[in-house]
Subunit: 337 residues, 2 copies
């Protein structure tokens, strides 16, 4: 069967490998569609070479159908459409014991710490699976994982109907956060510098501005009668994002840090004191976020078709990385495996 291998040194090869038979408690999937995540691009850039094992099969935003069941697996029938919550916690660390197994101290992430979904058949623990509704296309099924990220972030941010929400960064996760917040009934502003993404945000019915052309604190103050935003999502992982995130919230307003910062940026802790701001880190998702994402998808509440830039064969992975790093006209690319 076919697989895409990251060989290090910004090199992807397409090759063959043997399907892994599912062991006890495991399920083998026939992979259908897999989204390309910013984390995959990060790996391709060599930023996680110390964590991955060469050759690494990446990919964790997957849909597929059940191909084979390992010993003791119940609740899944061969042929059933599913998606994967790609987290393998240790069940034994203080985080797991405290009920935070999604951020387990020894977490294994499928597609980073183990082989991922950029292959024809993928064997995963059965507990990572979520059923997809039969009415949902498998293309859209590959969007559940990033949507679950957004559901988690919005839940951590406690977004309520009628609140004013600012999303800094209009990439796939940023726009999904904006759309989930909008669905809840919040007023949403997206801040983004890429013209293609700005335009797409507006096509999705979101208010969107370029912070290089619009004074963001003044704009938010104007939109909120001087109060400030109820919730700000920082999804840029940039020093300028870390700077502006504290300038926008109202007293006791919330900031959710979604972006993955490579270096500690300066953060205006005085502003946290002065306005009693609150900041919440948010990472991946919990099962309830997958459940919510699947419900939103089943109800057609999220316009996935507008977010999917293209669907391509597996051998277009490297070309897609090149397009993504160009910062051009791209939102979410899916690979048909």
């Amino acid at each position: 069967m076919q697989a895409a291998f990251y060989q290090g040194n910004q090199t992807i090869t397409i090759g063959t490998c043997r399907p892994i038979e599912p062991g006890p408690g495991e399920v083998q999937l026939k992979v259908s569609h897999v989204g390309i995540c910013g984390t995959d691009l990060h790996i391709y850039h060599g930023m996680m070479d110390r964590r991955v094992t060469f050759p690494q099969i990446m990919g964790h935003e997957a849909s597929g159908t059940v191909a084979a069941l390992g010993e003791g697996v119940t609740g899944f029938a061969v042929g059933a459409p599913v998606t994967v919550m790609p987290l393998v916690p240790c069940r034994n660390c203080p985080a797991c014991e405290a009920g935070h197994s999604h951020i387990c101290h020894n977490l294994k992430f499928l597609g980073i710490d183990t082989p991922g979904a950029f292959q024809s058949y993928w064997t995963v623990p059965a507990y990572t699976l979520h059923h997809l509704p039969p009415t949902l296309s498998l293309e859209f099924g590959a969007m559940i994982e990033p949507l679950a990220v957004a559901c988690h972030d919005v839940r951590i941010g406690q977004v309520q109907a009628g609140e004013y929400v600012v999303v800094l960064g209009g990439g796939p996760i940023g726009l999904l956060i904006a759309l989930v917040s909008q669905h809840i009934g919040a007023r949403v502003l997206v801040s983004e510098i890429n013209p293609y993404r700005l335009n797409l945000a507006r096509q999705l019915g979101l208010d969107a501005v370029d912070p290089r052309q619009t004074d963001l604190p003044a704009y938010v103050a104007d939109q909120t009668a001087g109060a400030g935003a109820d919730v700000v999502f920082e999804v840029t992982a940039s020093p300028v994002g870390a700077e502006v995130m504290t300038q926008l919230p109202r007293t006791r307003g919330r900031i959710v840090v979604v972006g993955i910062f490579g270096q500690p940026p300066p953060v205006d802790l005085f502003r946290f004191f002065w306005r009693e701001l609150r900041l919440f880190g948010a990472r991946v998702y919990e099962h309830q976020d997958f459940t919510q994402a699947i419900q939103l998808a089943a109800a057609e509440s999220i316009p996935f078709n507008q977010l999917i830039t293209d669907i391509r064969p597996l051998d277009q992975l490297e070309a897609s990385f090149k397009q993504m790093e160009s910062g051009g006209e791209v939102m979410k690319i899916l690979l048909k495996v």
Copy 2:
């Protein structure tokens, strides 16, 4: 009557002035004791010269008795012992409208934006007053304001019995936070570099270490079976405090920023993401914090006598500032007005 005047340029003069008659809704106090706050020292150092009006009468940690009542004031009898919550909100800004009048956008702070308590008679709005229990000495009554800060911080931090709490900085506010947390039933560690304060913390029954001699993250990990602290209070306002504060909490642990940072320090936002940490800014207090502080004081739950380094006449204000800035053997100094 006598008053201490800040004249700018690190100069305090002791002079005389006329008592202000209480207007409608105001109360004139005969000031008894006033604590010297770090903020007063900050003003003395010229850091707030653009905010104060020369000559400035500082002081906001006051106890006294009611001397005269303005028109329409009810609920207070002449001679009654009281303390002051020194906040004057505008009642008209988005923060006030949202119920956060203690951090009003146009907040006036008595003793900074208006004349303070370092004078024999002090006229304040009646709504700032809280009755002191007749059994509480007026010396201890002057400790209610800083204790209310600590009650607010601990409430914002949601400290629970059995939790592990780290307080970075063992000055008056840090030790009061530690003592309130200990009273709730938390296990408390104080991190402090001043040997006098370290020793005092230990005399108060608190665990206390010098972070230059003890590896704080390793120590906290050891004390919590590898989990990390439930709550960390940052009370140093130092870059090193901002650095270590993210290294100590457990997954979903809480950080409360109490220290007033002059410059935005680098903050490890990756760690917020990775462990889903939460950060809460905390500023001054609300009426319920004063109520709780007075209850704790009435129940003799806080050993004020160990925290009060000395009680001195008003003309010792400048000498006390000099002692405080030396970083020597001083915790809380009260002035007998």
